[in-house]
């Protein structure tokens, strides 16, 4: 088991390097750089472009150095926790992302818990009572949930919230708490504001999870070991929960892998619509304005999150499924 974990982690190191190199290549590949687009923006605004200032900006960020030198400067900074400076915000990237990251993690975790709490029991019910009225009901709801785009649900809920309940559903905090320090009241306020985004982001995931759980469990329900369990005298509930459900859950460990990158990019559209202070809108903005270091940090984070997610899901899978552990 330990050898397995060690092996996984060891293998991920070259991947991390490859990912960082690729991230840097991607942000470097569009023609022009930040200084050029900055100059173009100034010109468009009709302001004077100070060649000397541009010159100094280029020097400061090392934009004229060769590609590998720039990469090395960037990656060695990151190793020390310095992600560089955002051109647009004129703030260190780590500070910009840090605040929003916590909220993104909270949002992603709540969404995941919400999804599992709703989807797994319904999936089990749908499989055990296949082709019952309940199964059909949840299937219809599920397909509607899958087919409706997130932003549409967001707009509808916003409309309903504002028009019928008079509540402010955008953002994650009420106005009075935005800049307040953490307190119990602020936490309660956050939870209240979380509900709607969680429901919106979680709907389609819940719907697809129900289908996956139902299909997984249907594959297991009629396996001989279930009959064996019944032949021992176990009650129907215990038989189903201990054996087929336990095995049908294994594939879910693999889904952890794609939950991690979703912390950063899973809810961009909804976050923009509901103006949530998460990292998603910031990333969109950084990519649009070619804010090199900020965008680079995001792409790198996405890759790192994917790799970490993969390791975590592999380890969880090995913990719950002995067949993988003893390979």
């Amino acid at each position: 088991m330990y050898a397995y974990i060690l092996r996984r982690i060891a293998w991920s190191i070259p991947f991390l390097f490859a990912a960082s190199f690729l991230a840097f290549t991607i942000i470097q590949s569009p023609p022009g750089d930040y200084v050029e687009s900055y100059a173009a923006k100034l010109e468009a605004d009709g302001r004077q472009v100070d060649e000397a200032r541009l010159r100094s900006l280029r020097d400061r960020f090392g934009l004229d150095e060769p590609f590998l030198a720039q990469y090395w400067k960037w990656i060695s900074g990151i190793a020390k926790g310095d992600f560089g400076l955002s051109f647009q915000w004129q703030q260190p990237v780590s500070e910009l992302i840090g605040d929003r990251m916590i909220l993104s993690v909270i949002l992603a975790t709540s969404t995941l818990l919400f999804t599992w709490a709703i989807a797994l029991p319904i999936g089990i019910y749908s499989a055990v009572k296949q082709y019952s009225w309940g199964d059909y009901f949840f299937s219809i709801i599920g397909f509607i949930g899958l087919a409706t785009p997130n932003f549409l649900v967001a707009l509808i809920l916003m409309y309903v919230g504002v028009v019928h309940f008079g509540t402010n559903v955008t953002g994650l905090f009420s106005a009075e708490y935005v800049n307040a320090s953490w307190s119990w009241d602020k936490f309660v306020d956050l939870v209240k504001h979380l509900i709607i985004p969680v429901v919106i982001i979680g709907t389609s995931a819940t719907a697809s999870l129900i289908r996956i759980m139902r299909a997984n469990l249907l594959d297991e329900l009629y396996k001989p070991y279930v009959t064996t369990a019944r032949a021992k005298g176990l009650s129907e509930f215990k038989t189903i929960m201990k054996y087929p459900v336990r095995i049908a859950l294994n594939p879910f460990a693999s889904t952890i892998a794609w939950v991690f990158p979703q912390i950063i990019s899973g809810s961009t559209v909804v976050a923009v619509v509901l103006s949530l202070p998460t990292v998603d809108p910031l990333m969109l903005d950084a990519l649009l304005t070619q804010d090199m270091y900020l965008a680079g940090a995001f792409i790198l984070l996405l890759s790192v999150m994917s790799i970490i997610g993969m390791i975590v899901s592999d380890i969880v899978l090995a913990m719950i499924d002995p067949r993988i552990r003893y390979r």
């Binding site: 092996r7 001989p224 369990a229 032949a231 005298g233 054996y243």
Partner: protein, 580 residues
């Protein structure tokens, strides 16, 4: 003593006029039709029948384990000395047929009064729970033992079923066990609460013969120790002759014969029983048709010669997967196949017989050795070093019939597409020609021309295997490799397919490489035989000689484990165990 004898003759379980039916869209299908049986303590009742005869449904009906839409329609299942209440030791007589499948009472009976074991020990055990956790469950449930007590009892039970090192085995997972050990664990699970009745549904069918012999011995021993009644379901008349006290034969849901094992074998009443016994006896002797064929046309020249074939498989272990492990699947294999000859390869699972066949056909590459194939014109080629393109003509001459007739035919292609595809690949471009050839082939394998436009699911297992054979002989090959081609079939169908293969050999002068785990079939079908054990050919020679006077100790052990379909010879054959 007398009291014990009296109670020994009184049945513990009586099935009376049981009817179990499945409601389907096309009406009601009666799987068990008015069947009556008795199980007596200390006795084994063997329930025999082919697939679909209703024997499994009957056994599951007893414990109310029939999956929906199946249900017990009428009849009684009387269990004497039942423990309906786990808290009290009082026993009563109970009609299990009247109980609800999910009721508390039937759950108290399951695992405590009646234990059950199943055919496939791998899929019948949960892969993600330890052996100990799966066995101790019944103890906690029925006897209210705590974790520590249950653990002690499980270890004791594992010891009784002769699992080595039970203190360690209890915390292992089923996939760490061999097939035989898994079935022992399964038996331990069924018997841990000392039930009075054991239902065993084909418990040895998926096992090798030597393992089967050991499991049968174990069941016999436990039966005597616990004075247990066993309902043993099987399709193998050899196993019946080996272990049964009484025999019941089922066909199409009905009981056609029921009696003492010696009486039934000596004097079967029903035609169906007679045909089953005849098939069993027939496959223990060389085929007369084959012997006659050889008289008429002696074997021809060698067409395939293997010299020191070796095949290795590689795995990876160790940190970072850098360490390589090597498994020698085929080690120094030498043999010759002559024109018109049937060569058998016999061995247990994992002995390398299928790998050898794939190497012969060059589906797999070989590590070293030579394979000389002589084609129709008499030109000999060494085929181990050829690439896929150069192998085309050899592949046309060497075809395979696979084991599972359900998995080896594409369900979305019609029979004419299945057979036509391989004709097209071999350059028969005219549609009319292909049609004529397909009709000819169907006629050869005994299928009507109407089969052409139908899909595989419309055919039974035996008919599907005929389609596979038609596909194999379509490009007019010289060698057909039959890899356990009859193993998945019922006994009576098996004989028909073997006769068909012999008939085709007579007409087309085919050579067969016949892979089987069943020594009896090899003696029936093959002229010569190779015995494989752990990748090596330990013995080869004339099939009669190998099957009657084996030289190698492994062959002797293998033969001594094969059950003989004659109850009067029970216990006369001395079992030899082979230890390397």
């Amino acid at each position: 003593m007398t009291q014990q004898q009296a109670s020994a003759n009184r049945p513990i379980l009586e099935v009376k006029n049981l009817v179990t039916a499945f409601d389907t869209r096309h009406g009601t299908f009666t799987a068990v039709d008015d069947v009556s049986l008795e199980l007596v303590p200390g006795e084994t009742l063997c329930l025999v029948g082919e697939s679909g005869s209703g024997k499994s449904v009957l056994s599951r009906s007893i414990l109310q384990l029939v999956d929906r839409p199946g249900r017990i329609v009428s009849g009684e299942i009387l269990l004497h000395e039942a423990h309906p209440d786990p808290k009290q030791d009082t026993t009563t007589e109970l009609d299990l047929a009247k109980l609800e499948p999910r009721s508390g009472i039937i759950r108290n009976i399951r695992g405590r009064d009646i234990g059950m074991i199943f055919q496939e020990p791998m899929s019948s055990l949960s892969p993600v729970h330890t052996i100990g956790s799966q066995i101790s469950e019944s103890l906690k449930l029925h006897e209210g033992l705590n974790k520590k007590q249950a653990r002690e009892r499980v270890i004791e039970m594992l010891r009784r079923v002769e699992i080595p090192n039970p203190e360690r085995a209890i915390d292992q997972y089923p996939f760490e066990f061999s097939g035989g050990m898994r079935q022992r664990a399964m038996i331990a699970m069924a018997l841990v609460c000392n039930p009075k009745v054991l239902i065993a549904d084909e418990p040895t069918t998926a096992l090798d013969v030597t393992i089967q012999a050991e499991i049968l011995d174990l069941l016999e021993e436990l039966k005597t120790q616990n004075n247990m009644a066993i309902l043993f379901i099987t399709h193998d008349m050899g196993v019946v002759a080996e272990i049964a006290d009484k025999v019941a034969v089922m066909r199409y849901g009905k009981l056609v014969e029921n009696g003492n094992v010696k009486d039934v074998f000596a004097n079967p009443q029903h035609d169906y029983t007679k045909s089953l016994l005849q098939a069993a006896h027939q496959t223990q002797l060389p085929s007369t048709e084959r012997l006659a064929m050889r008289e008429e046309r002696p074997l021809g020249d060698p067409i395939l010669e293997a010299k020191s074939l070796r095949k290795e498989f590689y795995g990876k272990t160790g940190l970072l997967g850098m360490k390589k492990t090597t498994l020698v699947a085929v080690d120094d294999a030498n043999f010759t196949l002559r024109e018109g000859e049937s060569l058998g390869i016999v061995g247990e699972s994992g002995s390398g017989k299928t790998t050898l066949a794939r190497c012969i056909q060059r589906v797999l590459s070989v590590n070293s050795g030579e394979l000389h194939y002589t084609d129709r014109s008499g030109a000999s080629t060494e085929i181990t070093q050829l690439d896929d393109k150069q192998l085309q003509p050899t592949w046309r001459d060497m075809r395979t019939v696979f084991q599972d007739p359900f998995a080896s035919l594409n369900p979305r292609m019609t029979v004419s597409q299945i057979i036509g595809e391989c004709l097209l690949l071999n350059g028969m471009h005219s549609k009319a020609d292909r049609r004529a050839r397909i009709l000819e082939l169907l006629d050869l394998v005994g299928l009507p021309s109407s089969a052409m436009e139908r899909f595989p699911h419309a055919f039974s297992g035996g008919q599907r295997q005929r389609i596979s054979i038609a596909r194999a002989i379509a490009p007019n090959p010289r060698i057909v490799i039959a890899d356990e081609a009859t193993s998945a079939l019922d006994v009576s169908i098996r004989i028909q397919i073997m006769d068909l293969l012999l008939d085709l050999q007579k007409q087309l002068n085919l050579s067969y490489i016949f892979i089987s785990h069943d020594v009896g079939l090899v003696r029936f079908f093959c002229d010569r035989v190779l015995v494989m054990y752990k990748g090596q050919i330990v013995e080869s020679g004339d099939s009669e000689q190998v099957c009657t006077k084996p030289n190698h100790e492994y062959t002797q052990a293998l033969l001594s484990a094969v059950p003989i379909a004659d109850p009067t010879q029970r216990g006369q054959q001395k079992r030899v165990r082979y230890q390397q």
